[in-house]
Symmetry: C2
Subunit: 156 residues, 2 copies
């Protein structure tokens, strides 16, 4: 096994928690750049794409699906609604809830974001083959699935 990570010595270089952390920084930068000038961030995308895939939902439900905190969800939706990408209407069945819907403009915006994020994946994973990328996704998915409870500490 050849290793060559300039300047970063052995133990640190092969500590999984640290590797993941450092990679996450690269991922964040790639995503950030890709979304630059769209006015949207990771969490806007997460909400929009979830709305498309799983349909309209309450804020609490969206939070569960995206793992975005209830508290932050408020701000994200303020944003999306202000930009006309989502609609927030009172639920007649349960007046505590807001029903959040994806608008036409939101759907178009999401198409743009999707294209940009595809490019970001490619930039981040440039060094890996298609098979390796799938392996990586599989391994990470399994790690995440093995930690269901720690998904959102303090939220039931």
């Amino acid at each position: 096994m050849k290793i060559a990570h300039e300047n970063v010595p052995g133990r640190l270089r092969s500590l999984p928690t640290r590797l993941i952390n450092q990679t996450a920084l690269l991922a964040a930068r790639a995503t950030e750049q890709a979304l630059a000038d769209t006015g949207s961030r990771r969490y806007h995308y997460a909400v929009l794409t979830t709305l498309r895939e799983a349909g309209a939902a309450s804020q609490a439900e969206l939070g569960r699906r995206t793992r975005i905190d209830r508290s932050d969800m408020v701000a994200v939706l303020n944003d999306l609604v202000a930009r006309g990408f989502a609609a927030r209407d009172a639920d007649p069945q349960d007046r505590r809830r807001n029903i959040v819907t994806l608008t036409e403009a939101g759907s178009a915006h999401l198409d743009d974001l999707d294209r940009r994020l595809d490019r970001a994946q490619d930039e981040l994973l440039a060094a890996l083959s298609a098979v390796e990328r799938r392996t990586l996704v599989d391994l990470l998915t399994r790690i995440l699935d093995a930690h269901p409870e720690s998904a959102a500490p303090g939220r039931t």
Copy 2:
């Protein structure tokens, strides 16, 4: 390919940048818990282990090795020095520099941190076999090695 990541729909569930991000959160939590009550954090560990593996160095050099910002390095060393885990002495050869050394107490503290972090790796990667863990480390290392420049934006 079987996928089952409750509540999180398809696209989001398989977006590498997002998977890495979410996994990094788990990694951070595992690390945080493992280091609880030691008074140390990730970056304390990074500096201490780098001192042991690559020897005494200036703050700037330590920053390059650990990818910790020059600015944050100051605070980390203030901490380590105050706790007697590292010594910071003026370099007689180049008086701009401080030479940072690992102390006896620092070495003992590092042993403790090392043991704790081993446990954190195990907890994070519980779902993966030894081979898979090596594969993961390999893939992540290759991603990182392919992005040398974005290691520390703004620092040369």
